[in-house]
Amino acid sequence: MLSRVKTMSEAVRLVQDSQMLAVGGNALHRTPAAFCHELAKLERKELKGVGAAPGYAMDVLCASGSISEVFFGFFGFENEYGLAPGMRKGIQEGLIKAIEGS
């Protein structure tokens, strides 16, 4: 029988350059942090990230240079943890295109 169970390092290899990736959770809550840590190591290019209120997990991918375009309503860590540094640097340097929606 086909098993869909994979190790994290196998699972992240399903993601290829230029694909669009939806990342769940909001800000620092329920985000797939371990998956994004592992994916960041692959140094994929031109990924398009999608989330309602992306935070830590998506920011790791922004900081690793994997993301070229990001769709969001709010992108940050909330309150005392502030703004997302990877996203900010990428957008401010013109390396990441921001598609802000509501």
Binding site: F74, F75, L83, S102
Partner: protein
């Protein structure tokens, strides 16, 4: 009992909630969260919805962290009502109050949450974005915009970018650490000044001209309101925003 801007803002927001209202706030909202709990503790019979999907969470349990995505806003609730359903409800005109914030605001009720300096594609400072503001403000019966730091950086004659805009046909109030504004004839007018502030202080921290005179003070917090804030927020999570 002593009080400051945090208590005054929580109380001003809570006083806006009346019987049978359906009221929403999102993430990064410790002051609105405390206001919702205070209104519950005061006995106002309303429905509290929030970004976690919890409906009327148990307000007796105090929050221990500043995030308003935490289990404290879900546990003990009467139903699960997801964010996408909240947006549908709002677009059907059935949300009475949304509590939202700002980075910059103009006298016409234009709110910027997107960036300052440079342009959209290469901003000097990229901000987090308006979240649900652009959808919710036009369709909510009463938008309550809160800002804990009323200053010339935030209260500007023109915003760098308009992320969301007040709907002149609906109610729109801005509650700050100094005063309360209300949108009248498409312009923000001071409705009342908090007892510890003054018209001079409001004027010198607002980037557009205020020509109003002889303005009333906001009713000072009652002993009951102050006592109940301590009861619903003993860990003083509300101060995270100040």
């Amino acid at each position: 009992m002593k009080y400051g801007p945090a208590e005054m803002m929580v109380i001003a927001l809570a006083r806006e909630i009346i019987k049978s209202d359906l009221v929403f706030h999102g993430l990064a909202s410790p002051v609105p969260m405390t206001a919702m709990k205070l209104a519950k503790a005061l006995g106002t019979d309303f429905t509290y919805i929030n970004i976690t999907g919890g409906v009327d969470p148990d307000w007796h349990k105090p929050a221990v962290v500043g995030s308003t995505l935490s289990q404290n806003l879900y546990e003990g609730g009467v139903a699960n009502f997801g964010l996408e359903e909240i947006f549908d409800l709002a677009c059907n005109g059935r949300v009475d109050i949304s509590m939202l914030s700002l980075v910059q605001i103009s006298p016409r009720g234009e709110i910027n949450m997107s960036f300052v300096g440079g342009d959209y594609d290469k901003p000097k400072v990229r901000l987090p974005g308006g979240a649900g503001s652009a959808t919710l403000i036009p369709v909510t019966k009463k938008s309550l915009i809160w800002k804990t730091k009323h200053d010339l950086k935030s209260f500007v004659s023109d915003v760098a970018f308009c992320t969301a805009k007040a709907n002149p046909n609906n109610q729109f109030r801005v509650i700050t650490n100094l005063c309360i504004f209300s949108l009248k004839d498409n312009r923000l007018e001071v409705e009342s000044i908090h007892p510890y502030s003054s018209l001079e202080e409001v004027k010198s921290n607002t980037g557009w001209e205020i020509t109003q005179e002889n303005l009333p003070y906001t009713d000072a917090p009652s002993e009951l309101e102050l006592a109940l804030i301590e009861e619903v927020d003993p860990n003083r999570i509300r101060y995270i925003e100040f």
